[in-house]
Point group: C2
């Protein structure tokens, strides 16, 4: 079978390409569109390679390459002997998959949360631009603290979060406070919004008086400012997060390849 033949179903899903789109990329785009459509939910198993190959009239190796790339991009998780599953933030080994803050000593990263605020507001200029909304559109604004779990509890992170109001209709302080596990897990199961990737911009700033009070540092103390924009399927931004990190005993870790 030739890569250019048949496959109407695929060509519809195929994304813009340089000049030539190999078959496995068309399969990949097709699978991605099905993930986006919610055909398989986070944590669920997708059909086996052989079954997909048979259904799509393609060899196993071609499906394999498509699934490999999706697994590498954290959309799918392969488990030998069991199957291939839709990735989820709900059962992360690390409590927070996107949080790169680590204690200086290799100790545990157990942190407790303290919800400060959760309300619906107009997005405003900055959040609207990042989230591709109008400034007058509604947004959910959350403010919260992360503190060390060990007593005495020390504030470490002050987060300020904006979410598009249209996507998070029933999100209340009660729901947030009651939820155990990663916040992104709640977003998945309650609102069907799965974070796929994120971009962060990091700066050093001086604490304002309010920030200093909440984080237990002196005003104008240096803090790490981490601005994160998280995306769901289709490069659609769905969360803006402004985190202030105390870094006397923690650091932001990064790996450069």
């Amino acid at each position: 079978m030739n890569a250019r033949d048949g496959l109407e179903e695929r060509s519809a899903a195929a994304v813009a390409v340089p000049s030539f789109s190999p078959l496995y990329r068309q399969i990949k785009a097709l699978l991605l569109s099905r993930l986006q459509a919610g055909e398989w939910k986070p944590g669920e198993m997708i059909p086996s390679e052989l079954e997909l190959a048979a259904r799509l009239k393609v060899s196993q190796g071609t499906v394999r390459k498509a699934v490999d790339e999706l697994a590498q991009e954290n959309h799918l998780v392969r488990r030998q002997g069991k199957g291939t599953f839709v990735a989820t933030h709900a059962e992360e080994r690390t409590q927070y998959r996107f949080l790169r803050l680590t204690p200086d000593d290799g100790a545990s990263t157990r942190l407790q949360r303290r919800l400060l605020e959760c309300r619906r507001v107009r997005a405003g200029a900055e959040a609207a631009r990042a989230l591709e909304l109008r400034a007058s559109d509604m947004a959910v604004q959350i403010r919260r603290l992360l503190l060390t779990a060990a007593e005495p509890a020390q504030p470490v992170v002050l987060d300020e979060i904006w979410l598009p109001g249209s996507l998070f209709k029933g999100l209340t302080a009660e729901k947030l406070a009651a939820w155990r596990g990663p916040m992104y897990g709640l977003f998945e199961s309650e609102f069907g919004v799965r974070m796929v990737r994120a971009e962060e911009r990091i700066r050093a700033v001086a604490a304002t008086r309010d920030e200093a009070a909440l984080l237990g540092v002196t005003p104008s103390a240096p803090l790490l400012l981490v601005e994160r924009l998280s995306y769901t399927y289709g490069e659609r931004p769905v969360e803006l997060r402004r985190g202030l990190y105390r870094t006397e005993h923690f650091h932001y870790r990064n790996e450069l390849g």
Copy 2:
């Protein structure tokens, strides 16, 4: 042919494994050991997949998978129609492959260098621990500024670098100042040390009086502290770098998968 047969040459290069080492990983380890041995120099082309397959008595697909992983880990660079080449820091499109600092406006990242110091010193406790030396061993210490290229030149980065003296014997201020292109390119071509990966720890700190003077900020102004430990082949640390970044008009960018 079975994955467990023959292949004395490979088993020697095979690294510790969970319980089962597929053939392509043995090939990968073999290629990696040859890269480490300098059999092919940075920028050079390695033998074609078919030739390697023939020499190693293995199918092209197996070599392919090994090379794929090495390319993904930035050891090799594939160029369709031309060949597969040893990765190098000398011909990076971006001037600095490991520098994640970006201007807030999407403008160019052109920076100029100003060498402040380059001398041979005792490593000292901190650098010795990081570089796996004795505190009494000699190290090369470099201090330099990076400034915006556009006039008026603004200081942006203050770097302090430690290198193991034993590996960088002829490294002098003159050599450094005369070198055009990335510093890591000089390390490759003059000292045969290729940086393979790096770890960074990022913090917010207050500028000391000296640091403030060099960077043109007020004392105790917030700065981004980026501590980088770079490794060459075999997980061997070969550079400790302590960078202080001004982040009023620049930010450290990161992608989270």
